[in-house]
């Protein structure tokens, strides 16, 4: 009886030890990874929700958490440098860093790339596949399960686009000109054949100076920009000035890096973004 009990104990502890602890740096990656791993791994945000990832610095408890991870999923192209720099500096042993954007065709932004691949369906799916494959290498027993979940999740994400695609089939969008306060929406908009004619903020969360604002107002007028997409969770008082001076229509998108981490966050907020997009294009 004791032998049986000890054998059971060993089996249970082995299965517990084999279970991956996967860290994520941004809210969308929490959604991606939880949908991939289901109940066969633990998903841990590296930092608490409610912080601006652009200017965050890891605190001691974040660093402790980092050292407890088997894998860390990162954006790796400029949106989570608080994490990538820390990993470079601290080099936690036994940590596998999964670069979610490794296989994503990126949009060039001058000499850099636009890091907002997570505010997108197609680029999101690409990252889901990259993450699932990488996790499958770390946990070969669950590789098939992770990949199957990734395919199902991709199907769910693609289905979110359908209402907007149906709307656009009958619409001529060639005349619509778009501006955004932040360069976060390029990947999403390009999925519908749209490009951003002007980006207003010099950096995320940084309001333009008075002369920059004046230049922006002039650009909007000269380029006959119809729609301005701005960020839902950011106070942008200058947006009211732009609306007043130009008569432009303003719509609010989620940047998808705020609030609580949730497995359904990407579906919920992307669904809302797509509704706003349909509203903007249909107006």
């Amino acid at each position: 009886m004791r032998t049986l009990f000890m054998a059971l104990l060993v089996l249970v502890s082995q299965s517990t030890m084999a279970r991956l602890t996967v860290g994520v740096t941004l809210h969308p990656y929490y959604s991606y990874v939880t949908n991939i791993v289901g109940d066969r791994a633990d998903v841990v945000p590296l930092i608490e929700g409610g912080f601006n990832p652009h200017n965050y610095q890891l605190n001691p408890s974040d660093i402790d958490r980092l050292f407890e991870l088997d894998a860390l999923v990162v954006n790796g192209i400029g949106h989570d440098m608080f994490a990538t720099k820390a990993v470079e500096r601290l080099s936690p042993p036994d940590l596998t860093v999964i670069y979610a954007n490794e296989d994503v065709p990126l949009i060039a932004n001058g000499e850099k790339v636009n890091p907002h691949t997570f505010v997108s369906i197609d680029a999101g799916i690409r990252q889901v596949y990259t993450i699932a494959k990488a996790l499958g290498k770390l946990d070969p027993e669950n590789k098939g399960y992770f990949l199957k979940n990734a395919l199902l999740y991709a199907k769910k994400l693609r289905a979110l686009k359908k209402p907007v695609q149906d709307l656009l089939i009958t619409k001529d969008l060639s005349h619509i000109r778009i501006a955004s306060t932040h360069g976060a929406y390029a990947y999403l908009l390009q999925e519908f054949g749209l490009t951003v004619s002007a980006v207003i903020e010099p950096a995320h969360g940084v309001s333009p100076t008075a002369s920059q604002l004046q230049d922006t107002i002039e650009t909007i007028k000269q380029q006959h920009i119809d729609v301005l997409f701005t960020e839902l969770n950011m106070e942008n008082r200058y947006v009211d000035t732009i609306e007043r001076e130009t008569g432009i229509k303003i719509f609010y998108f989620s940047h998808m890096t705020h609030g609580q981490y949730s497995p359904t966050m990407v579906e919920d907020e992307m669904s809302s973004n797509l509704k706003k997009l349909a509203e903007a294009l249909g107006s």
Binding site: I77, G78, E102, D103, V104, P105, L106, I107, A108, E111, K112, V113, P115, D122, A123, I125, R126, Y129, L147, L151, A154, Y187, Q190, E191, T195
Partner: protein
């Protein structure tokens, strides 16, 4: 008799010190420049990048390739490959053309996209080229996520 020869000591005009100082300055600057040059990563020779207008098509294609490989691994793809059975995306209503059993090409303006199955794996690439006759045409093929510079 005392020696009244007077040793004439030329005034020190500082030329030697000035020369040594300048040599030291130039040496330090040269070492600094060489050190800086050595820390700068060599830029790769001029590489072309896929224009942003094709970025979403490249994304869709990349997703499709990944899905094909997953289906192949699960033995869910039949060997009679066609544009429709592979669900290859369109570009401005243009579809891929089948060049042979496992080679598909789409040309748009000055760019070509290629999808092929090789050694059991599906892959895709693009090139700045027209008139593609073969997936192994000896031109410069680039991966879909090819970038000129990192962020």
């Amino acid at each position: 008799m005392p020696n009244f020869d007077i040793e004439i000591v030329q005034p020190n005009d500082g030329r030697k010190e000035t020369r040594n100082y300048l040599i030291t300055c130039f040496t330090v600057m040269a070492i600094a420049l060489i050190s800086l040059w050595m820390t700068i990563e060599p830029t790769s020779s001029a590489r072309i990048a896929l224009p942003n207008q094709y970025s979403n098509f490249a994304l869709q294609l990349s997703n499709t390739i990944e899905e094909l490989n997953m289906l192949e691994e699960s033995e869910l793809l039949t060997e009679l490959y066609s544009v429709e059975s592979l669900n290859l995306p369109q570009l401005h209503q243009k579809t891929f053309l089948k060049l042979d059993e496992s080679c598909f090409v789409l040309e748009q303006d000055a760019y070509a996209f290629m999808v092929e199955k090789h050694d059991g794996n599906w892959s895709a690439a693009w090139a700045k080229h027209n008139s593609i006759n073969d997936c192994h045409q000896p031109i410069e093929w680039n991966t879909l996520n090819h970038q000129e510079s990192s962020s």
